[in-house]
């Protein structure tokens, strides 16, 4: 009794032969075969091993719902856990089975099956607790080694793409109902997307013999004509090989398209496409899923869902077994019977749980006419066989056990509307006691369900349902499809979830979750331990937590639990269906927004010059900033920074400061606005002067700093830190629009409109004079913290006298178009005067020598201006500014807050590390057990080339009162400390002679 090819049904696959390798052995299938259909064609039924007990597992279904037949694809970077029932074969494909060692047939792990009686639900929680230390060293490593199904894949850099869609209607499912819905919408004003998970449309028309003909045409012919009609309509787009996985709020759908269905994905540019769809209406015509029945050893390879068996016959042209046994509790299996008999294959036996009188007469007649051994009011008690099904035990209407040898058993326990997406959308489902299943009830979003997806299993009402539910759509055509059925009219189902074991042993098992090895016994044990809520049950037993999310079994577990608890299934409820509907590739989710496009690299107008001049870059937000410039390959960062710093203080240096945020503020009330935004007082500030400024949060803490230049009382230009730019502009807009709409003020970001150069050092004036020969840079005409605008070529540049290094310095603002040219001109002119480029690290060092703070380094969101000794920047006479009120709270105003101080080592050869803490003991215990009190921490530390020793800044509790105090600074790799002294943080030029020179 082996598989046979049904070449009559080869319309979806071609007769082109494809060879592939499974577990090292070569097999041949046809183009269009899935791995499962090809293996079945080759009479391979054992595919893998289960999660916990390592029991043999075969092919249970013919689609996405498959819990068992998971494989690893070596020829695709070793992709694990792929469904053999969905994945198509291609020439040269190499696959292996999972979770077995050393081989699929002989798996050492199956010893777990012998121990299975004690591995019952909750086993882990109740043991492995002692003796002390054993959990970490012994038990856990063993448990972890047994984890997982597939092996880890190999490195892979995908080129998956994203497509956004904005449409009016999405039809999920290109089966009969989806096609009819699409047909209704032909040439309407709606933009429609019809999404089908398979490579072909048609659903039931391809899957079974249920429908004989349609509109008087052969199924295949009708399908072709209908698809042509839909394709011709400009408003409808069809996406095939695309699965809707996620139904988010506001009818936002995620769908995954397999763009490499029939050949090795490596030959495609992008093997997956993720569709992000926003629609007005969602029509769910995504059909149903058949469920199984639990009986003893219902997990054995050879047991398959009845409708899946039929799908293999019609879709893939393979009859998995010429003489299977059929076990059912409903009439949907009638078409399988017909399909088999049509092909001359006679089922060995037909077992129906229903009694004679409740089975439709045409079915009984058919069985009789074809002389098929029939057992009614009967059930499968169990199956036996090692690695593969050998024999089934039937319990007949008189409770006798009859054993029949067979290699395949087809089971149908009923069908469930596929409500996964519907519940993801937060629609409510309702128990249908006629069809014994949950079906969609109230939608939360603009969702319409059609056909079996809506719980309507009756083909005769198809026209009525579609016309009725879609009647609100403007221009939708009236549909009248004529179906000629080949099957029973209705499902006519009788309730059964599991069958009783004839002989209960410690080892006898009926499975409820095939992938996770959850048995019906586990369910009853869990309930008896008090896990009687369905969510508890799921978590305690791991039921329905596998990669299939219990698609063929979760309703069964509810049925079983409801019996144990003696409750209605609707009162037991279901667990919440989690997206995605089926596992969704991480690569597809990431799309192109990763790897080289993870985050934009923002570059300044003179980036190319920096590269040419050996800049080493630092990431500051998205910006690439020169960190330091390497003089030659062997120069270290420390050497470069020391060199840059020394030279700048001797001659001059220039920094690309273009990344600094710049905001132009203007309006009648600009002055008042600026007074409210910043701590500083701007009222008395003279036009064309600049000021160092602080911005606080309402909590009184320093959030940003910069320089504000006043053109006049109505017009200001503010700079911000590089990272703070968007936030500062955002805050300004927020306050202007929401808190102070009465203030007439506008602001624009002009960050990108100007390149900014900071040139500083004793020779900077001389260089500026050479570059801008018409400008008077003398101290009298161009004093510190003033600015002006000057003509340059056919544009204007703004020059401000300001400095962050403590040296004489200028900031030049120039439109980016002219930036590189000007930068190079400055270099030509400065070369002889010793001008060098410098990076952010040197800037940080030089400012530390002057005791200037860097917001975000010397502050951490818990520091007030007072803590930084920047009281002078607070406009005390101002009635209000952002954060002012917070400064007078009891904790913020207390005396011994952490304050910014300088720290220098007593031994000048010693180094102080950033981030280390200040303590009052000379040496720390090597293994600290009890907390050691500390006074504060080092915020900045550099080796000062000017002072030739380490200088540091620190936030220290009551630091202002501790000047001259000896303290100790911890070291990261030692219990020794660095004996140091608390000093004023201005280490160099306290009288600003250099700055004002």
């Amino acid at each position: 009794m082996s598989a046979i090819n049904n070449t009559k049904s080869f319309h979806l696959i071609s007769s082109q032969k494809i060879s592939f390798t499974f577990d090292g052995k070569k097999y041949t299938g046809f183009k269009g075969d899935t791995v499962a259909s090809a293996l079945l064609r080759n009479n391979i039924k054992l595919i893998g091993r289960s999660f916990k007990y390592h029991r043999p597992r075969g092919i249970y279904t013919c689609g996405i719902e498959e819990p068992n037949a998971l494989i690893q694809i070596l020829s695709e970077h070793s992709e694990p856990n792929t469904r053999a029932t969905v994945k198509r074969i291609y020439e040269g494909m190499v696959i292996v089975s999972q979770n077995r060692w050393p081989s699929l047939k002989m798996d050492i792990g199956s010893i777990n099956n012998l121990l299975s009686p004690i591995f019952s639900a909750g086993f882990y929680y109740k043991t492995f607790m002692g003796p002390k230390g054993f959990w970490k060293k012994v038990y856990e490593p063993i448990i972890r080694r047994t984890a997982g199904l597939g092996k880890p894949p190999k490195d892979f850099r995908s080129k998956s793409v994203h497509h956004y869609h904005n449409v009016d209607i999405v039809i999920v499912g290109g089966g009969l109902n989806g096609l009819i819905a699409a047909k209704k919408l032909i040439n309407t004003d709606y933009d429609v997307l019809l999404i089908e998970q398979d490579s072909f449309l048609g659903g039931v028309l391809n899957n079974s013999k249920k429908i004989k003909d349609i509109d008087g045409q052969e199924n295949v012919e009708w399908l072709k004509n209908t698809e042509d009609l839909i394709r011709k309509s400009k408003n409808i787009k069809i996406l095939k090989d695309t699965l809707v996985t996620t139904y988010n709020f506001k009818d936002h759908l995620i769908a995954i398209e397999d763009k490499a269905v029939e050949s090795a994905p490596t030959s495609y540019k992008s093997e997956l496409a993720l569709h992000k769809i926003r629609t007005k209406h969602t029509i769910l015509a995504n059909g149903h899923i058949e469920r199984f029945i639990s009986f003893r050893n219902n997990d054995l390879p050879g047991v398959m869902l009845a409708s899946s068996f039929e799908k293999y016959i019609h879709r893939y042209g393979v009859v998995p077994d010429s003489n299977p046994i059929i076990f059912t509790n409903n009439s949907s299996t009638f078409s399988l019977l017909k399909s088999l008999v049509d092909l001359g294959c006679k089922p060995l036996a037909y077992i129906d749980y229903r009694n004679n009188s409740s089975i439709e007469k045409n079915i009984l007649d058919f069985l009789k006419n074809n002389n098929i051994q029939t057992y009614t009011s009967s059930e499968i008690e169990g199956c036996d066989g090692t690695n593969i099904l050998k024999e089934v035990s039937i319990r007949d209407d008189k409770k006798n056990i009859i054993k029949i040898k067979t290699s395949m058993l087809c089971v149908s326990g009923g069908i469930n509307p596929d409500v996964h997406l519907f519940t993801q959308s937060k629609g409510l489902i309702k128990w249908d006691s006629k069809y014994l299943t949950f079906k969609p009830d109230k939608p939360f979003q603009n969702t319409i369900t059609l056909g079996s997806a809506s719980g309507n299993f009756n083909y005769q009402s198809l026209n009525e349902e579609v016309n009725d539910k879609l009647s609100f759509l403007k221009g939708a055509k009236e549909i009248k499809i004529k179906l000629n059925l080949n099957t029973a009219d209705d499902l006519n189902i009788r309730e059964i979830w599991e069958t009783k074991h004839e002989k209960e042993t410690l080892w006898s098992k009926s499975f409820i979750d095939l992938q996770n090895d959850v048995t019906t016994k586990d369910l009853s044990q869990a309930v008896s331990e008090g896990f009687d809520r369905i969510e508890h049950l799921k978590r305690f037993t791991t039921n329905s937590m596998g990669t299939d999310q219990g698609k063929i079994s979760s309703i069964n577990s509810l049925g079983i639990v409801s019996k144990i608890l003696n409750k209605n299934i609707s009162d037991v409820g279901t667990t919440i269906y989690r997206p995605p509907y089926s596992p969704l590739s991480f690569s597809a989710i990431a799309g192109r927004n990763t790897y080289e496009f993870y985050d934009p690299k923002r570059k300044t107008a003179i980036h190319s010059w920096h590269i040419k001049n050996n800049a080493v870059f630092e990431d500051v937000g998205q910006w690439k900033r020169p960190w330091y410039f390497k003089l030659n390959q062997s120069e270290t960062m420390h050497q470069a920074v020391q060199r840059e710093s020394r030279q700048l203080r001797e001659t001059a240096g220039i920094l690309d400061g273009s990344t600094l945020g710049k905001i132009e503020v203007k309006g009648k009330d600009a002055l008042e606005f600026m007074n409210l935004m910043y701590t500083n007082a701007f009222t008395k500030m003279k036009p064309m002067t600049s000021r160092y400024v602080l911005m606080l949060g309402e909590d009184g803490m320093v959030k940003d700093d910069g320089i504000v230049s006043k053109i006049n009382d109505q017009h200001f230009i503010a700079t911000t830190t590089t990272g703070g730019a968007p936030k500062v502009l955002g805050d300004m807009e927020e306050y202007a629009q929401t808190e102070w709409p009465h203030l007439k003020v506008y602001m624009n970001s002009i960050t990108e409109q100007f390149s900014t150069f900071n040139i500083s050092g004793p020779k900077s004036r001389a260089i500026m004079r050479k570059v801008f020969s018409e400008v008077d840079f003398s101290n009298e005409k161009f004093p510190f913290m003033t600015f002006n605008t000057f003509n340059y070529l056919d544009t204007k540049v703004r020059i401000m006298r300001a400095s962050f290094t403590g040296e004489l310095g200028y900031e030049i603002y120039v439109p980016p178009k002219y930036a590189l040219e000007l930068w190079e001109k400055i270099f030509r002119n400065g070369k002889n005067l010793g001008l060098i480029p410098y990076g952010t690290e040197t800037m940080h060092l030089l400012r530390a020598e002057k005791g200037y703070v860097v917001v975000g380094q010397d502050t951490d969101g818990t520091v007030t201006p007072v803590d930084l000794n920047l009281n002078w920047m607070i406009g005390k006479k101002k009635k209000d500014f952002i954060g002012k009120r917070s400064l007078s709270r009891s904790d913020t105003s207390k005396k011994n807050r952490k304050q910014l101080v300088g720290i220098i080592p007593i031994d000048k050869n010693k180094n102080i590390e950033e981030g280390q803490h200040i303590v009052e003991i000379k040496s720390l215990p090597s293994n600290i057990k009890e907390p050691i009190e500390y006074l504060g921490h080092i915020t900045s530390s550099y080796h000062s080339p000017a002072l030739k020793h380490c200088i540091a800044m620190a936030l220290v509790k009551g630091g202002n009162q501790l000047m001259g105090k000896k303290i100790f600074v911890s070291k990261s790799n030692s219990s020794e400390t660095v004996e140091s002294e608390i000093v004023n943080p201005v280490f160099l030029d306290p009288n600003n002679r250099r700055l004002l020179s």
Binding site: L428, W431, I576, Q737, T738, R885
Partner: protein, 116 residues
């Protein structure tokens, strides 16, 4: 990810917007005249209702304009959008969806699957 109808740009994906928390919280006009506790209330405390919430949004990746919205935080449905200078709609307007203080809405909450 829901949709927000920016009063100036039209309906856009929520990812273009930033939320600004509770609406109609007025910054004290004379901060110095109020107690530490009152000030703390302004700086740190915002309503956090389950149900009808008057809140602010800004079209941060669009026109950068602020506006107000009434949203049901138990379903995320936006019930009303209005400009900053428009009068806030009365709570009565939303009585039919009002679920505050703590009840779960039958539809649209994360907690129910099965119809009772």
């Amino acid at each position: 990810m829901f949709l927000i109808n920016c009063p100036y740009c039209g309906e856009r994906d929520q990812s273009e917007f930033s939320n600004g928390g509770e609406a109609h919280v007025k910054r004290p006009e004379n901060p110095d005249s109020i107690s530490d506790k009152e000030w703390a209330e302004y700086v740190f405390v915002r309503s956090n209702p389950k149900g009808i919430f008057y809140e602010r949004w800004v079209h941060s990746h669009g026109c950068r304009k602020w506006f107000n919205a009434v949203r049901n935080t138990s379903t995320d449905e936006i019930l009303k959008i209005y400009k900053l200078d428009e009068k806030p709609p009365s709570l009565d307007e939303f009585k039919h969806t009002l679920q505050t203080p703590s009840g779960e809405p039958e539809l649209g909450s994360g907690n129910f699957t099965v119809k009772k």
